[in-house]
């Protein structure tokens, strides 16, 4: 177990290092620096200005040299300054991270819990009216693009009914908890509904497989109660693919949800990383993306451990 964990930690470090290089190069390969683009919008800027600004921001140096500087600084604990915001990376990142954890955490938890309920209910009564209804609901959920869902929710609950604010994170000049919660309702609802359909389908499929197995029949024959059969025996096995999907979504806790954040003007990690990448803000983009990568790696590691716990037949050679 210790060896497994140690080996995994080494792997994770290797992946993070490799990804940092790949991402840095990828951003560098994008044509057109924002400084070049400024010229097309500003009639007074000259070519000399562009050259001077590139020197000031240090982007006239070769990519690899800049990457090595970044590595040196990061290993020394200095994440640098964000070019986009003109503040230290940590200052720009931290509040957005908190916002995203709140938004994504709430939506995933709710989606997962509802999916468990719906999926198990559907699996226990295959091909019934309930099953069909739940399926239809899932299909509707996965067919609607997130930006549409967000727009409908805003138009109905904010514009028409006025129950919730149409966007933003707080009302200007007022930052208490009740206000923040009110602003969270619609974005959380959007994300939850967007993910619910997919999760439910996975739970349903996995539970159907699990309930059809021999040891379930054995348990039933031995007189075990229905609840015990479903929750103790079947669910454990069914959870293997479900845990996989959950782990895959975990990275999203940090990388946020770009479309939902844009629609609700909710300043989270999704929009931050997007703006940083598009703005060639290497320091900020790398900090955000590597944080998301580390989270994904950790989540998949936890999933691997979970497989062994859920299903004793799993062993890692």
């Amino acid at each position: 177990m210790i060896r497994f964990t140690a080996a995994r930690l080494v792997d994770m470090a290797a992946v993070l290092a490799l990804m940092s290089f790949v991402i840095y190069v990828l951003i560098g390969l994008m044509p057109g620096d924002p400084i070049d683009l400024m010229r097309s919008a500003d009639p007074h800027m000259t070519a000399a200005d562009v050259a001077r600004l590139k020197a000031v921001y240090g982007i006239d140096r070769p990519l690899f040299e800049r990457y090595l500087d970044w590595v040196r600084a990061t290993l020394g604990g200095d994440l640098g300054y964000s070019r986009l915001f003109g503040t230290p990376v940590v200052t720009a990142l931290l509040p957005r991270l908190v916002n995203s954890l709140a938004l994504m955490g709430a939506s995933f938890a709710l989606a997962f819990l509802c999916a468990l309920g719906l999926g198990i209910a559907a699996a226990r009564r295959p091909n019934s009216g309930l099953d069909a209804a739940i399926n239809l609901f899932c299909f509707a959920g996965v067919s609607v693009p997130t930006f549409w869902l967000a727009l409908i929710l805003i138009l109905v609950f904010a514009a028409q009914l006025g129950w919730f604010p149409a966007g933003g994170i707080t009302t200007a000049g007022n930052a208490d908890m009740a206000d923040r919660l009110r602003h969270l309702v619609l974005p959380v609802a959007t994300l939850m509904l967007a993910n619910l359909g997919g999760y439910t389908r996975y739970v349903r499929a996995a539970m159907r497989d699990a309930l059809a197995q021999d040891h379930i029949r054995t348990a039933r024959a031995k007189g075990a109660g229905e609840a015990r059969v479903v929750f103790h025996h079947a669910l454990r096995t069914a959870l293997v693919p479900v845990v996989t999907i959950l782990a895959l979504s975990f990275g999203g806790l940090v990388s946020g949800a770009l479309v939902t954040e844009t629609m609700f003007a909710y300043p989270g990690m999704g929009k931050l990383i997007f703006d940083a990448v598009m703005g060639n803000d290497y320091n900020l983009a790398l900090a955000g993306l590597l944080l998301a990568t580390a989270t994904t790696l950790a989540a998949n590691f936890a999933a691997d451990l979970a497989y062994a716990w859920l299903d004793p037949r799993v062993s890692y050679r």
């Binding site: 990828l26 994008m30 549409w148 389908r201 037949r313």
Partner: protein, 284 residues
């Protein structure tokens, strides 16, 4: 099984043959711009009305369907195939194979798509040796989208298949087969694969719909199917701005996506029942 297949066949037939028939019979084309007749409602000539440039919505819907279906099916199958191969290798062989493959998968999941997309959009295809005729054709943007969808999609299948393979590989019947001298490919194909089908089929059928929607988000960002080509995704994304003036322009492609998603998923359910009869699944 019959219902979803019939539904899919009907949609496919309409999408592929419809425009041809309508053009031959009535001389209608999808590019017939008519600025004087924008966003008009139903009429005899235009059963579903016209869009923001006066083109017939029904025709655009059918043409768009062809593109969306091709992208969706191609990407879903390709992603599933690659993911399954990697997942099987990692899950069954274990050890270093598992470590390396899964770390690559983790990296892929964390890769930011937008810069990748933009770099792909900026790539000079001639320099890569792509024949000029293909590089300039309309289809190149389709191939790009399929490539991207596959790049995003294979990781889910890989993780799912690996998880199921881990569970199955130490089962008695697999050990028995091994001791009888069965080779790895045989074991993978006959013993492991049938037991990973459940979640894999769900993932594949879901991903077909996901890809169509991904195309919609790509159009939202300006990187999807390029005009004057239409796809359900780009029609949906364009209609977003017209939600107050012509909401029906969003309803039709949305409805088609909905029907297609239902059809694919029901197909998947039916496949699961056929290929995976009671008793042979993950642990059974």
């Amino acid at each position: 099984m019959k219902l979803p297949l019939a539904l899919l066949a009907a949609v496919a037939a309409a999408a592929f043959l419809g425009p041809v028939v309508l053009h031959a019979a009535f001389g209608l084309g999808t590019d017939d711009i008519d600025l004087l007749n924008r966003m008009s409602g139903q009429s005899a000539l235009h059963p579903l009305g016209t869009d923001e440039l006066g083109r017939d919505v029904l025709l655009r819907l059918l043409e768009g369907g062809r593109i969306s279906l091709v992208i969706g099916i191609a990407a879903a199958i390709a992603a599933a195939a690659i993911g399954t191969a990697i997942g099987l290798a990692a899950g069954y062989l274990g050890g270093w194979t598992d470590r390396v493959l899964m770390r690559i998968t983790d990296g892929m999941i964390a890769l930011p798509l937008l810069p990748l997309l933009i770099v792909l959009a900026a790539l000079d295809l001639d320099k890569l040796g792509v024949p000029a005729a293909l590089a300039r054709s309309d289809d190149i943007s389709l191939i790009r989208i399929v490539a991207l969808a596959v790049l995003i999609g294979w990781t889910t299948a890989a993780r799912l298949v690996r998880g199921a393979a881990l569970v199955t590989r130490n089962r008695d019947f697999v050990r028995a087969a091994r001791s009888l001298g069965a080779g790895v490919p045989h074991i993978l194909w006959r013993h492991i694969l049938p037991n990973v089908l459940g979640p894999l089929i769900v993932a594949t059928t879901l991903s077909a719909g996901d890809v169509i929607l991904l195309e919609s988000v790509l159009s939202f960002l300006g990187l999807g199917v390029q005009p004057p080509l239409a796809s359900w995704g780009s029609m949906l994304s364009n209609a977003q701005e017209l939600v107050t003036s012509a909401p029906s322009l969003a309803v039709y492609p949305g409805l088609m996506i909905f029907l297609t998603v239902i059809a694919f998923n029901l197909l998947g359910d039916a496949l699961q029942n056929r290929l995976d009869p009671i008793g042979r699944s993950i642990a059974g």
